[in-house]
Symmetry: C2
């Protein structure tokens, strides 16, 4: 599947951008909820370092996850679908070929 | 001041080890209190990354701070005194020359 060949209409780009914002908001909310809950249950220093390790991994992941460049957009969306941060129904309006590619990517 | 020349009696080593444990327990308690408080007040993702940055710095600092080797013990204790994690009164029982060296080190 050659990402660079995928053409995005203005309307499709808006749909994708909105979906990315929705997924990001969900992910951030879940992350903040998790941090609050973990922190409230801290009992020993190892719990603090575990939280630190967790944040290091999440930060690295989130930093590279929301790539809006057109040539990466299908991969970005497929990852968010795999992570259950988006549902395919939220991408209605994308051309059938893109939805088919996404269905394929999330099974890979 | 040549650290390697400092001789520690068995009693002095016990005093120093106890002081290090006391300081460590205080530091860890303060750190856990801070993390709980910060986490309960998270409002946006930048607050999470600030907490992560803070934990990275504290972990690095704490990892290297409690050096119990005799040749480093005066430096270790002086740092804990500077950081207000110990008080000189908690080091009573150390020989006068060590207490004098510590008084000097914490003013450096």
């Amino acid at each position: 599947m050659t990402q660079t060949e995928t053409q995005w209409s203005s309307e499709e780009k808006q749909i994708a951008e909105k979906a990315l914002k929705t997924a990001y908001a969900r992910e951030i909310q879940m992350l903040m909820d998790y941090v609050r809950e973990s922190a409230s249950g801290l009992c020993e220093i190892q719990d603090v370092w575990q939280l630190h390790d967790f944040l290091s991994a999440r930060r690295h992941d989130i930093d590279g996850k929301y790539d809006e460049r057109e040539s990466f957009l299908l991969f970005t969306l497929s990852k968010l679908l795999q992570d259950k941060l988006l549902d395919l129904t939220e991408l209605e309006g994308l051309a059938a070929d893109k939805r088919a590619k996404l269905s394929l990517l999330i099974r890979m």
